[in-house]
């Protein structure tokens, strides 16, 4: 590293010591250490984000080469909001968030409160619930695809056993494909929620519970009056991150349904993939990317603003 060379030279007195003061050396070191990360972020995040803004104002089929770029202004964005597939993707994303985020959060907080307060072998339960989160989404999707088999799969066999003569055909059913994926998603994500909630609960001072016990508060009362309110910041964190990640869902959809049947399980990222990498409409796909980015920015800002007002640390 050039930095250490500079240091050694300075120490040996061969470089003008008066120029390479400690302060100057620290400045240089700071910039050298941060440089790779900053350059990397500019190359893989900042530049692409701006580049995609420019692209979103153009019509460009990648196959035609750089000379085939046409500037079209806001046409892509206008077209987007007339495009039924995109509107369906947007609607599906919203339904997906509404159907998964509250469920995982409620289940997560209840299960982790039980694990935290009532159970022996906590580590075992943490690990057990976390296992699906570690597993490759694609491998898990392959398993669920078999479980969901319309006639022979265990899910429907059990439903038929329970007296449901005409169970849903899950992934191949237009009214159930999205729900089928939501179920897998909740199953995979629950462990993550439990880990974060448990971490939040460990930060709540034990004395509060002791005092409440002396005052005769029941377990459920303690959960409502102590655990839930003091978990405010954790809950907010999970609400933001879960909403954002539910808008990024892609792997399961690509592997299981390709957005189908009949676009019933399509989502924004899947549409970006289809327009950009299957139809090579780079401008149009970039316009979608920017809508996705703006939605995520909006979610983050709204939750930040409400958080500053409502939650007390």
């Amino acid at each position: 590293m050039s930095e250490s060379a500079v240091t050694r030279k300075a120490a040996a007195g061969t470089a003008p010591r008066t120029y390479w003061t400690r302060k100057r050396r620290e400045q240089l070191a700071g910039w050298l250490f941060i440089a790779p990360e900053v350059i990397g972020m500019l190359v893989i995040a900042v530049f692409p984000l701006l580049f995609s803004l420019v692209l979103s104002l153009t019509e460009w089929n990648l196959v035609g080469g750089l000379s085939a770029i046409h500037f079209v202004g806001l046409d892509n964005f206008i077209e987007l909001f007339k495009d039924n597939r995109f509107l369906l993707a947007l609607k599906n994303n919203v339904l997906f968030t509404i159907g998964t985020v509250p469920v995982t959060m409620v289940l997560g907080v209840v299960l982790s409160a039980l694990i935290h307060k009532k159970l022996y072998a906590k580590t075992f339960f943490k690990v057990a619930f976390f296992v699906p989160y570690i597993c490759s989404t694609v491998a898990i999707a392959a398993v669920w695809q078999a479980l969901y088999h319309p006639s022979k799969g265990p899910v429907n066999q059990i439903l038929m056993q329970l007296g449901l003569s005409d169970p849903p055909r899950w992934l191949v059913d237009t009214s159930f494909s999205l729900i089928a994926i939501m179920i897998i998603y909740v199953w995979q994500l629950l462990g993550y929620q439990i880990i974060i909630f448990l971490a939040g609960m460990t930060n709540i001072p034990e004395e509060l519970y002791e005092a409440a016990t002396i005052d005769g508060a029941s377990g459920i009362g303690q959960f409502r009056r102590i655990t839930l309110p003091l978990l405010g910041p954790t809950t907010f964190f999970l609400a933001i991150t879960s909403t954002i990640s539910s808008f990024k869902i892609f792997d399961m959809i690509k592997f299981l349904t390709n957005g189908g049947p009949n676009y019933s399980s399509t989502v924004i990222v899947y549409q970006i993939y289809e327009e950009g990498f299957e139809r090579f409409k780079m401008g149009y796909a970039s316009a979608m990317s920017w809508v996705l980015f703006l939605i995520i920015l909006l979610v983050t800002s709204i939750t930040w603003i409400t958080q500053n007002r409502k939650v007390h640390y």
Binding site: S4, I44, S136, L198, T300
Partner: protein, 278 residues
């Protein structure tokens, strides 16, 4: 945690909960069971959890010695995950040290920008990154995936948070002994950060191993495929042979599962730190 008094009620809860978690893990148990059966027995109902007709060896051969180069996909995944993990650790640790322990002009600005970068979703920049990789002539290469996976503002943030907590006395002592900033980083800061480095390393490795979207977009040649992409390929070739698909799923999951079970504390703590401080 202080030990609480033994309560029979809690023991009952624990047993009840153990049943719940078994039910929760049922899909994975089904996968293991199906991977060791004949195709016919996979679909028998009620589910035959322990196979009558063991078929592990044939399924194993179909995955590993069949027409699909599963072993090659494995090596590709291992190569990409290892290189990206090491590179991320080095780059993020350097940045974390600079942001946490060095005083330089623009540090606050860069730190704020770093936090802002975390809000840029990878999925929103897929198209331009693909075009960049094409223009650089890196399309359909592992280098493309490694380059895209080396930088992480999230891990930089985690490492920075840890390194801020290292006492300055230790760094000053090293400086008095004549160590430069690079030397301090290498011989003082890195060894003291071992636990968080391990955590970052494992989490990054797991994420890269499981990544599907990156390879899907950046790779074309079958010989370069990683496991998740190979699974898709497998599905197209053997979609109807569920027992073989399940054996392939086991193969995709097992190494990470073993790694996770061995190092579960690092993984869980790492995820928890990200969540509580994030």
């Amino acid at each position: 945690m202080t030990m609480r008094k033994f309560k029979p009620g809690n023991l009952l809860f624990t047993i009840l909960f153990a049943l719940v978690s078994v039910f929760f893990l049922m899909p994975l148990v089904w996968m293991l069971s199906a991977a060791s059966k004949t195709e016919k027995e996979v679909w028998t109902f009620p589910i035959q959890w322990i196979p009558n007709d063991w078929n592990i060896i044939a399924n194993f051969k179909a995955v590993w010695m069949g027409d699909v180069a599963f072993g090659l996909f494995y090596m590709n995944s291992l190569k990409i995950a290892l290189i990206s993990t090491v590179a991320t650790i080095v780059i993020s640790a350097m940045a974390g040290y600079a942001l946490g322990k060095l005083d330089f002009k623009g540090r606050t600005l860069i730190f704020t920008l770093m936090l802002a970068f975390m809000m840029i979703p990878e999925q929103a920049t897929l198209v331009p990154r693909y075009i960049m990789i094409k223009e650089l002539g890196l399309y359909d290469s592992h280098a493309a995936l490694i380059l895209m996976g080396m930088f992480s503002s999230y891990f930089t943030f985690l490492l920075r948070q840890f390194m801020v907590g290292i006492h300055n006395d230790m760094l000053e002592a090293a400086e008095l002994d004549g160590a430069g900033f690079f030397r301090i980083f290498w011989s003082v800061v890195l060894p003291l950060s071992r636990p968080i480095l391990a955590t970052v390393g494992i989490i990054k490795f797991i994420w890269t191993w499981n990544d599907y979207q990156g390879p899907l977009i950046m790779l074309n040649s079958t010989r370069l495929y990683t496991i998740p992409l190979g699974m898709q390929f497998f599905k197209e070739e053997f979609g109807t042979q569920i027992s073989v698909m399940m054996m392939a799923s086991v193969a995709a999951i097992l190494p990470l599962l073993v790694l996770f079970l061995l190092l579960q504390k690092q993984v869980i703590d790492g995820i928890a730190i990200g969540g509580v401080k994030g």
